[in-house]
């Protein structure tokens, strides 16, 4: 059922020329797919997809759409080549599915080889009930470090591509009115919700060991809260609370914290990211290590997301008020 919704949405997206509608539909698409992830027992993934796909990426797309034309041009020719490539790919994929273990089959190799150890032993080796967190942060902690670095790299990319000149900043302070001034109810409600959102983000950050969630999701939620505030009260006000330079530093700080934990492990005599050595008791060490690196993840992600949004919004300001 959900899958067919998904297919319908995807087809609708191909057909629509209004990019705005496309973006909204892709938001729906993410929501749907997150529900589906939930249905497939992937709670953490659903969590992330909801906050990232439906939240941040929709906001980023919208921020971009403000700067570019809203309608797609109709292309003149029918792309037969593209269709051909797609059909070949599809044929290869379908061919590949023929020998796959069936959906939900408990005897599939996937469930036989590596995963059982995570499920059976992680509670003794790492000591966390959320197996996803223990795999993410400990067994495959290095992948997660890589993921944080990817986010950081994207942050660097956007920072360097969408730089804000001092002139724009100065102008923004004087000329740009705060947005959505007449939506009084909205502003009040948002003000009420902001602390709730931030507290919830902290809850997700530190509860990730026991339930779904963790640094990444928490970072995104935190950023979403700040973005909400920015959208309703304007850039200048937000940036007087949170200095952009400070946020940029934070993006780097999260990565440093994460990789620093690894280096400390190395100095203490373990391998890189081997949290066992952080404390006299391995399980306790794992706890400490995971807490720290999740914090690193959260900081970097939140800071990068906020920076991204700031940069895109500054562009809008620049184009609107810099003539």
């Amino acid at each position: 059922m959900l899958l067919s919704f998904l297919a319908l949405t995807a087809i609708a997206i191909t057909r629509m020329g209004d990019l705005f509608a496309v973006v909204m539909l892709s938001g729906i698409y993410s929501l749907l797919s997150a529900s589906l992830f939930l249905d497939l027992d992937a709670v953490d993934v659903a969590f992330t997809e909801a906050s990232v796909g439906a939240g941040i990426s929709t906001l980023l797309f919208l921020a971009t759409l403000k700067l570019v034309p809203r309608y797609e041009k109709k292309s003149r020719y029918k792309p037969a080549l593209a269709l051909g490539v797609v059909i070949v790919t599809g044929a290869l994929l379908i061919y590949g599915t023929l020998d796959m273990p069936h959906f939900g089959d408990a005897d599939a190799p996937v469930h036989q080889h590596v995963a059982p150890r995570y499920l059976n032993d992680s509670i003794n080796e790492v000591g966390l009930p959320n197996v996803v967190t223990s795999v993410l942060a400990s067994y495959r902690g290095y992948d997660t470090l890589g993921e944080v670095v990817v986010v950081f790299a994207a942050g660097i990319g956007v920072m360097s591509l969408l730089m804000v000149s001092q002139r724009t900043k100065a102008r923004a302070l004087t000329k740009v009115p705060a947005d959505m001034q007449h939506q009084i109810i909205l502003r009040i409600v948002a003000k009420m919700m902001l602390p709730l959102i931030l507290i919830f983000a902290l809850y997700v950050q530190f509860h990730g060991d026991y339930g779904p969630g963790g640094g990444f999701q928490a970072g995104v939620i935190f950023a979403a809260g700040i973005i909400l505030y920015t959208m309703l009260f304007g850039l200048s006000l937000t940036q007087s609370v949170i200095k952009p330079v400070f946020v940029e530093m934070l993006t780097a700080f999260g990565v440093l914290l994460y990789s620093g934990v690894g280096i400390v492990c190395m100095i203490l005599g373990g391998n890189y990211l081997d949290y066992d050595v952080l404390s006299h008791d391995p399980v306790h060490g794992q706890h400490l290590g995971i807490l720290l690196i999740e914090l690193g993840v959260g900081i970097t992600v939140a800071a990068v997301m906020i920076t991204l949004f700031f940069k895109f919004t500054w562009r809008t300001v620049k184009h609107k008020y810099n003539q």
């Binding site: 007449h182 939506q183 109810i185 909205l186 409600v189 009420m192 919700m193 709730l196 919830f200």
Partner: protein, 114 residues
């Protein structure tokens, strides 16, 4: 006692679903944007509220109840505010509600919007 709770929550869930469903019908069938907002938001509040309260009865005391309460608060605040803001923005952008002279059968809906 348990049976009683079960029955109560069941009634709440079913009635909540019913209201949600009517809202959806309204969303689909009503003639213009404002009446559709009306249908969606009013039933949304009631339907969501009933369903969540029904779930709360099932949850018993604990963290789950707190979370459900949080969702309730969120959806009460967010959904209504969002609909209000949406209608306001639509009105401001020049979308006019259908009036009696435009179309007879939608008059009641349009007069009751925010």
């Amino acid at each position: 006692m348990d049976i009683l709770l079960d029955i109560l929550s069941w009634i709440l869930l079913i009635s909540g679903s019913f209201f949600t469903f009517t809202g959806a019908v309204g969303l689909f069938r009503f003639p213009d944007f404002f009446s559709r907002t009306h249908a969606a938001s009013v039933t949304d509040t009631l339907g969501a509220g009933l369903i969540l309260i029904g779930l709360m009865l099932q949850a018993g005391w604990g963290l789950v109840l707190a979370k459900l309460l949080l969702i309730l608060v969120f959806s009460l605040l967010a959904s209504t505010t969002a609909c209000h803001a949406m209608a306001k923005a639509a009105l401001k952008s020049g979308l006019k509600p259908l009036t009696y002279s435009d179309q007879e059968n939608s008059a009641e809906e349009t007069t009751s919007k925010h």
